[in-house]
């Protein structure tokens, strides 16, 4: 190893860091440490001038290790690596100390924050001293794509890719395509026909030669890595092995089961129906009570299972507008029926939606506001003199009155939940699930379609509740990524993999089953374990499990982490010594 010449750069992040951390003091102190050739601070390290500063220092001082203390490496690690690479240095001879998210933003005492920042910087220096050069590698992309879910999202994505001339495998758990949209009559707010739309889509998918659809199929296991995934399908009679380069998860939604919400009386009262059940009535043109009568009063309860800690804390995004759609549809067929909406906030936010809301109001729908968090309308069977089937009781917030609402049919705008097979799919595809049960995206704002696993994209309601246009857009966006990936044909792979030191490996076989990706195999000839670095994702579990220390996790080696620990504690060690001396 060459003698380390380290450059340390501490960022102010405007005032984000500098208001809580004495950046200058750290810079000075660090400058006196051994091996440190350059120690600087700058207002915005991530800006072009900031990066230029590093680049010119590398060239001028022949630096071979860089430490940047700034924000979270999850934000700017790549930026700096690129800059360092531009300066001709291997991008992995670099370490970031997170002194913003972990220090300046979360602490209030300048002295303590500065001390902590200092120890983080020293730890990064200690670690970077042991960093090694890692070389970039690429793999080819298999042009086929796997799409899980044959709903509108999956189909749109499939068509976008297939129409561009690439193979798509479309996996559907059901025996037909269409998903939830196929159970819907019309779309809001322009009231186009969901049925016509989905039928035409199904038609196109079925006629596209590039799309192979698998019905009644569930994915158990997916192996491989971006560009080269594979899965084995168990079909009725034969097994089928699929190889593909990318995949889109579009597993869709599951409507909440309203039976768990006792007040609402689903299952107990026959004329309480869910939104999807009501869609069936609309498709068939048969809006009747169970007893076959035309309803005089219809109550639509919004937010059933949504926006309530007991059920789902989130908003299901589409129910308000769907409810308004029902209101319009009922009005067209039953001009005299009273329509009541029990809602909590009218979320008419999309294009044309506010207008739709006002249009619905004009058609004599009564909007009654309830407290969806604490006071769900209570439904009971009506008495003989009530002249209706069901009476709903609730506190109306806009008037401040306790009211009762007569109803013959009650429609529940049930919330959307992630489909139950999300967990299984997530496990197979190696993506995370967030607290609400939906797939976790790579970044909630700037990358809502990618996941933390390369080559795996999510689209539609499996990411979060959304309406058809938004699902379709997301499907398109995912398709864009995949088209890019296919047309470029190559992808760079993970560099921070595990590696086996064959001179030490004792052939104990401990590691082999530890790897979740089966990246480790045993070389019978050499009698050592071997890591397939294309499959390896660099979690480092094997490295910890290896009793001999033969496996090391690149960029996170024992040596690197142990020196990081030493570095971390160096400041407090010195400090406590100082304290003791003072006490003496």
């Amino acid at each position: 190893m060459k003698e380390p010449k380290i450059g340390v750069y501490i960022c102010w992040c405007g005032t984000n860091i500098s208001h809580m951390v004495d950046v200058k003091a750290i810079t000075e102190e660090i400058g006196d440490m051994p091996n440190i050739k350059v120690s600087r601070n700058y207002k915005y390290m991530c800006s072009d001038p900031g990066q230029d500063l590093i680049i010119s220092d590398i060239k001028k001082h022949k630096l071979n290790r860089i430490v940047v203390a700034a924000c979270s490496p999850r934000i700017h690690e790549l930026t700096f690596r690129k800059a360092i690479e531009n300066a001709g240095l291997n991008p992995y001879l670099f370490e970031m100390a997170n002194i913003r998210e972990q220090v300046s933003w979360v602490h209030t005492d300048i002295e303590a924050a500065t001390e902590k920042a200092k120890s983080l910087v020293i730890a990064a220096i200690s670690k970077v001293t042991h960093h090694e050069e890692l070389e970039r590698r690429t793999v080819d992309i298999n042009p086929a794509t796997l799409i899980i879910g044959g709903g509108i999202t999956g189909m749109t994505a499939a068509l976008d890719i297939a129409e561009s001339g690439f193979k798509v495998y479309l996996i559907e758990r059901d025996n037909k395509l269409g998903g939830v949209v196929s159970k819907v009559d019309l779309t809001f707010p322009y009231m186009s026909s969901a049925q016509q739309l989905i039928k035409s889509l199904i038609n196109k998918v079925s006629n596209n030669k590039n799309i192979e659809v698998f019905f009644n199929t569930k994915i158990k296991e997916i192996n491989g890595y971006v560009g080269n995934f594979e899965t084995k399908l168990k079909l009725q009679k034969k097994a089928r092995e699929l190889k593909f380069g990318n995949m889109i998860l579009a597993t869709g939604l599951k409507p909440t089961d309203p039976e768990s919400i006792h007040e609402i009386g689903y299952g107990r009262l026959p004329d309480v129906v869910t939104a999807l059940e009501f869609e069936q009535m609309l498709i068939k043109g048969n809006i009747k009570t169970k007893a076959g009568k035309e309803p005089n009063n219809i109550l639509i309860v919004h937010c059933v299972g949504s926006r309530n800690e007991k059920y789902n804390p989130y908003c299901s995004r589409t129910c308000c507008m769907t409810a308004l759609k029902y209101s319009n549809q009922i009005r067209s067929a039953l001009p005299k029926t009273s329509i009541y909406h029990a809602y909590s906030d009218m979320r008419a936010f999309g294009k044309g939606c506010e207008e739709f809301y006002s249009q619905t109001g004009r058609k004599n729908a009564v909007f009654l506001m309830y407290d969806q968090k604490n006071d769900i309308p209570t439904l009971r069977r009506a008495g003989k003199n009530d002249r209706c089937n069901i009476i709903a009781h609730m506190y109306e917030k806009l008037s401040g009155e306790d009211i009762e609402i007569p109803a013959d049919i009650v429609i529940l705008m049930i919330s959307m939940e992630a489909h139950e097979n999300v967990k299984q799919v997530a496990h197979a595809a190696g993506v995370s699930i967030c607290s609400n049960g939906f797939f976790m995206e790579k970044h909630p704002k700037l990358d809502p379609i990618a996941t933390t696993t390369d080559g795996v994209y999510i689209a539609g309601t499996c990411q979060s509740p959304k309406d058809i246009p938004d699902s379709v857009s997301q499907a398109r966006a995912a398709a864009a990524r995949i088209l890019t990936s296919i047309s470029v044909g190559k992808v760079e792979i993970e560099l921070t993999t595990a590696v086996v030191n064959e001179d030490i490996c004792g052939a104990c076989h401990t590691c082999i089953n530890v790897c979740p990706y089966s990246a480790i195999s045993f070389d019978e000839e050499k009698k050592v374990s071997v890591v397939n670095e294309v499959i390896c994702k660099g979690c480092g579990t094997c490295s910890s499990a290896c009793p001999t220390g033969a496996i090391s996790a690149r960029h996170f080696t024992d040596k690197q982490i142990l020196s990081q620990i030493e570095g971390l504690l160096a400041v407090s060690n010195k400090l406590s010594e100082k304290l003791e001396m003072e006490e003496v």
Partner: protein, 394 residues
């Protein structure tokens, strides 16, 4: 107690109004906030819209809020949904008038043109026919003109003396006044029952009835609340009308023998000055309103219910006939004076009989009473929101 919502109620109410945009309201609260007259406990117009949308009929009957509104129109002007809350308040006033009216005539008059015009025409016809048969014009016009050349108005009728004629008209006046007052008072009692007694939330301390009574008189006389509205011109006009009308009413009904005399007193005499003031007051406001209602620019005059026009027309006709009677008298035109006098009565009487207890004019009583009742409600400690002072949050 929980109220049962009823979306059908809206269609009942529709007949009392012109605009129908109230369903557009999404309850942002802008109208209430912008209203200079609303206060805690009486949050209008939004709550009125809410009660209307929900069809809470019983609740609505306990409301005095619509009477507290003087229709400045600011709420409608700033309403983001153009839901026209001010016009709803107007509509609710019409509706409440019919609610207070126990005879049920009010509802018929408001909601049916046949009833409205029919009742007026019948009363007018009765008066015309009655005059022509029982109080016909004397022959010999010259006898009915005095030295100064003006018509002696009380001596036009065949067979009775001037004194007798005044007496007959006075009796007629009083009869009319008593009937109208009886109807109005019974309606006010009905209002009192509905607003105060049947509202379980309100228990008025007895003393309050007296301590707050001055408000009734004060508001009747000044429409002080009205002056809080931004457009003070309108309040001035309205005050002119109100005083003018009251003076005229006093002169014609209470002081008829003093007012309707044979001799023409000089123009600076009190009767004539009062008369001119009243006529001016009425005409001034009438013209203001008529132009406004035709132009439809001012929010409060944009929407005219048939009853609004009828009221204007009747009042205008009364005034014009009155002026003409005066002019003809001065010029000694006997026949013209007589027939116009009949015409004057044929307009005036139905106007008072129909408009005061059953229609638009009833507000002369309901408004001050509403102010009075609202104070009573506010004094009733049971419901906290009436007690709340207008105060910042927390």
């Amino acid at each position: 107690m929980s109220y049962r919502v009823n979306s059908e109620f809206k269609s009942d109410l529709k007949k009392f109004g012109i605009a129908e945009q109230w369903n557009e309201c999404f309850h942002c609260g802008n109208c209430t906030a912008v209203c200079p007259l609303t206060e805690n406990g009486f949050l209008f117009p939004r709550q009125g819209i809410r009660v209307m949308q929900m069809g809470l009929k019983e609740k609505l009957a306990t409301y005095v809020d619509p009477w507290l509104c003087y229709y400045c129109g600011e709420c409608s002007e700033t309403c983001p949904r153009e839901a026209n809350p001010a016009e709803l308040m107007m509509t609710l006033r019409r509706y409440l008038t019919s609610v207070y009216d126990w005879t049920g005539l009010s509802k018929k008059i408001y909601t049916s043109k046949w009833w409205e015009f029919g009742s007026i025409i019948i009363i007018a016809l009765l008066i015309i026919v009655g005059f022509l048969i029982y109080l016909p014009l004397k022959s010999g016009a010259d006898a009915m003109v005095n030295q100064s050349g003006s018509v002696m108005i009380n001596s036009l009728v065949e067979g009775i003396s001037a004194g007798q004629f005044v007496r007959i008209i006075e009796i007629g006046d009083w009869t009319m006044a008593i009937i109208v007052a009886a109807l109005l008072i019974s309606n006010i009692l009905n209002m009192f029952y509905k607003v105060i007694l049947s509202d379980n939330a309100v228990k008025v301390p007895f003393g309050t009835y007296f301590t707050e009574f001055w408000r009734l008189i004060y508001n009747f006389a000044t429409q002080a609340k009205f002056s809080k509205c931004d457009d003070r011109n309108y309040w001035v006009g309205h005050l002119l009308l109100m005083t003018g009308y009251s003076i005229m009413f006093a002169l014609v009904v209470i002081a008829l023998p003093l007012f309707q005399i044979e001799e023409i007193v000089p123009w600076y005499n009190w009767q004539r000055l009062l008369g001119y003031y009243a006529t001016f007051g009425i005409l001034f406001f009438l013209i203001q309103v008529t132009i406004g209602r035709i132009k439809k620019q001012d929010t409060k005059l944009k929407f005219s219910h048939p009853s609004d026009w009828l009221f204007i027309i009747m009042l205008a006709l009364t005034t014009i006939t009155g002026i003409l009677v005066h002019i003809f008298r001065l010029n000694g035109m006997v026949e013209a004076t007589y027939y116009l006098y009949i015409a004057h009565l044929a307009v005036l009487v139905p106007m008072i009989v129909i408009e005061v207890p059953f229609s638009k004019w009833s507000h002369l009583a309901y408004r001050p009473f509403a102010v009075y009742f609202s104070r009573l409600k506010k004094a009733a400690v049971k419901k906290i929101e009436y007690q709340r002072e207008l105060a910042p949050a927390i």
